[in-house]
């Protein structure tokens, strides 16, 4: 164990030297300080998920860190004024742009952009007397600009939550649900009168299948579930969902088709094994449910072109 720790220390120290050499301007950051930050990064991004990582993997991770950005941030943490000036000068446009994206209006964006610098610097001081800001959480794994955007987005969500506590407003999604329920009631009122027995059995089947589908979704791999959420729940296009997952649009489309197949098989298995349905009942329920849902969705499709575009994307 001690041998492993020593090896890790040595790898981090060597890596910190290489990082310092790679940086265009290391702001005079001591290699020891850099090595501490490097070790934190290795723990967080590699050893947390793979304790037995080989030295080669550790070295590779260190060598892919953003040397310039990491040196700049560590220097800022240490109170280097030149580093702070550089940080503000270089990343003010990024901060303003991200704040505008996360805010409803220009005024709120300006407030958010101002507050982010205070958050970065830190309003409180730590045991060593230095300010404890968010800069300590930058690991150098991704770009500093991207990290700043993520910090601003999180800050915007926190501010929104605080405001929501003060003003009790209903979430947009709740409004949507109310509207949808009302719309569904309207649709059902318009529908022709059907056999009450059929209606009951259909509702029962629909409820069972929805439950089975929710259960089947939990059996998907994390990445497949994420794709389903991005595409169906967040309303992203296949291209956008693929970009989040780091795959091409065509790959996302193929993956979604495979997920449909898996879900269908999984739902069938749950209905037959756990709920005692027969195969023919399952097939019939699928057809009827899809038909009913399709009928309900058609009025929405006529007003919502994005859904139609999505179907074309899947077909393509």
């Amino acid at each position: 164990m001690n041998h492993k720790l020593e090896q890790l220390e040595r790898l981090c120290a060597d890596g910190a030297k290489r990082l310092s050499a790679r940086a265009a301007d290391d702001y005079g950051v001591p290699t020891d300080s850099l090595a501490v930050r490097v070790r934190t990064t290795v723990q967080k991004h590699l050893l947390r998920d793979r304790e037995d990582a080989l030295p080669g993997a550790i070295t590779d991770l260190i060598d892919t860190l953003q040397a310039d950005d990491l040196c700049l941030i560590v220097a800022c943490e240490q109170g280097n004024q030149k580093a702070w000036d550089d940080l503000v000068e270089r990343f003010s446009p990024t901060v303003r742009s991200a704040a505008r994206s996360a805010s409803a209006n220009e005024e709120a964006a300006e407030d958010l952009a101002q507050s982010i610098w205070a958050e970065l610097h830190g309003l409180r001081r730590g045991a060593d007397g230095r300010p404890t800001g968010k800069l300590a959480y930058y690991s150098g794994r991704g770009s500093l600009a991207g990290w700043l955007r993520a910090v601003i987005a999180q800050l915007a969500i926190d501010q929104h939550r605080k405001q929501s506590r003060l003003v009790q407003t209903e979430e947009d999604s709740d409004f949507d649900r109310i509207v949808q329920n009302g719309h569904q009631h309207t649709l059902s009122n318009r529908a022709v009168v059907i056999n009450p027995e059929d209606e009951t059995s259909q509702k029962f089947a629909a409820a069972g299948m929805q439950q089975a589908l929710s259960q089947a979704m939990l059996a998907l791999t994390a990445e497949d579930r994420l794709l389903v959420k991005l595409y169906y729940f967040d309303g992203l296009r296949l291209k956008e969902a693929g970009a989040v997952l780091g795959v091409h649009e065509a790959t996302a489309s193929r993956r979604l088709t495979r997920i449909h197949t898996e879900l269908r098989r999984q739902v069938e298995t749950i209905l037959i094994n756990e709920k005692g349905w027969t195969k023919s009942e399952t097939d019939a329920a699928f057809s009827e449910l899809a038909l009913n849902l399709q009928t309900d969705i058609e009025p929405l499709l006529s007003t919502n072109k994005t859904l139609a575009n999505k179907e074309n994307e899947i077909a393509g």
């Binding site: 991004h45 590699l46 947390r48 793979r50 892919t64 446009p93 742009s97 991200a98 994206s101 996360a102 959480y137 930058y138 690991s139 794994r141 991704g142 770009s143 600009a145 991207g146 990290w147 955007r149 993520a150 987005a153 999180q154 969500i157 947009d172 999604s173 709740d174 949507d176 929805q210 929710s214 791999t221 994390a222 990445e223 579930r225 994420l226 389903v228 959420k229 169906y232 729940f233 967040d234 992203l236 956008e240 970009a243 997952l245 780091g246 795959v247 790959t251 193929r254 449909h260 197949t261 879900l263 269908r264 699928f286 057809s287 449910l289 899809a290 849902l293 309900d296 899947i314 077909a315």
Partner: protein, 387 residues
């Protein structure tokens, strides 16, 4: 699985999404949220596989974190280069084959193949038509008949319109004599391959019929006007005068040749002299380039034009901005370091993505602003297309 079954799942998932929207993230523990560093690493695709699985599991359940990642991905316009994951690689050969012959693929593949085939056949057919478009050409397969036989055959006035194209190709006669020295020896000064000049155009017409392919391309200027022969009765005298004028230089050369032949010389030196004389005549009758090109319909003339065109396209407009060299191609400025294989991020000027990118990389602003229209620039190993 049939497409109908896929539609069923699609409809069911949409229904589930409507029902559960805004509910899923309620179960996520606040402390398990990903921090900004992890979110950014995921959005930029720089996470290890185990970490990626963990992040994906959280993102699938946490709407807030997912929104941040989506925002980060869209603002940077990040396009990941991750190759197919293990599950895709593990797809069996038969699954891949079945996927290749699936309806969506065949629906586009079959028309595409048909279209390509039609275009290919059209191109081949057009290329085959090309060589036959020359009015005058050297065809080795059509060997000239014997001159003596040609003299015996007198064609009627209704010769084919194409044949007169070589009717006045008189310089071919010495060549014939070179190949048949016996025939040329002992003929009169004004004779052409045994035909007295007094016979005029009619005799020449015979000669042309006899030697349709003897004329060389260099004599083409004489046939630039392949008009139908005028009525013989009205223009016979004029033709004779013209013919006599044309024959004057040849007469002088023939006399010179006869003088040389009368002196004992070896055959090599004689041949050299004949070649020199032929070269002289060829130089005298050298056609004007414009006329030769005008003779060719779709052949060499257009090839030359194409060459000129390609030469001008080689001189494509180039500009250098901030040490980078750009070439104008298809109304776009392309960085000389750009490779077709590299992934390109499309950025629209004035968009939020553009502002974010410029904010991160101010150096790109110079290229975007100094070069108008579409600009493809390679910056820090990544290609960006501004439009």
């Amino acid at each position: 699985m049939k497409p109908a079954n896929l539609n069923e799942m699609d409809v069911m998932l949409r229904s589930l999404a409507r029902r559960d929207s805004g509910v899923v993230s309620a179960h996520v523990d606040a402390e398990s949220h990903l921090d900004a560093d992890e979110l950014n690493a995921f959005a930029e695709g720089v996470v290890t596989e185990p970490a990626r699985a963990r992040y994906s599991a959280h993102l699938a359940d946490c709407t807030n974190c997912r929104r941040i990642v989506v925002g980060l991905t869209q603002s940077v316009g990040f396009t990941a280069h991750r190759v197919a994951t293990e599950d895709e690689q593990a797809a069996s050969f038969w699954q891949q084959l079945a996927g290749f012959f699936s309806n969506p693929v065949l629906r586009f593949a079959i028309p595409a193949v048909l279209l390509v085939s039609i275009i290919g056949i059209g191109v081949i057919a057009l290329r085959q038509e090309g060589p036959g478009e020359f009015i005058a050409q050297h065809d080795p397969s059509r060997q000239p008949p014997n001159v003596d036989q040609a003299n015996q055959t007198v064609p009627g006035p209704s010769s084919t319109p194409t044949e007169p194209t070589v009717a006045f190709a008189t310089p071919t006669a010495p060549i014939a004599r070179d190949s048949h020295p016996e025939a040329g020896r002992g003929e009169g000064a004004g004779s052409v391959a045994g035909v007295p000049p007094s016979e005029g155009p009619a005799t020449l017409q015979k000669e042309a019929d006899a030697q349709p392919s003897q004329s060389l391309p260099t004599f083409a200027p004489d046939v630039t006007a392949p008009a139908p022969p005028p009525p013989r009765e009205k223009s016979a005298e004029r033709d004779q005068e013209q013919f006599a004028a044309r024959q004057e230089p040849r007469k002088r050369e023939d006399e010179a040749l006869r003088v040389n032949e009368s002196q004992p010389q070896d055959s090599d030196s004689l041949a050299d002299r004949n070649k020199a004389a032929t070269a002289t005549r060829r130089a005298a009758n050298q056609p004007q380039p414009g006329k030769v090109q005008g003779l060719m319909r779709d052949g060499r003339a257009y090839e030359n034009k194409d060459k000129n065109k390609s030469d001008t396209s080689d001189d494509a407009e180039t500009r250098t901005v901030s040490g980078k060299r750009f070439v104008r191609q298809n109304n776009a400025w392309i960085d000389s370091a750009y490779r077709q294989s590299s992934t390109t991020t499309n950025v629209k000027r004035g968009s939020e993505q553009y502002r974010a990118l410029i904010a991160d990389e101010p150096g790109l602003r110079t290229f975007s602003e100094q070069l108008g229209g579409e600009v493809v620039v390679v910056w820090k190993g990544r290609a960006y297309k501004f439009h």
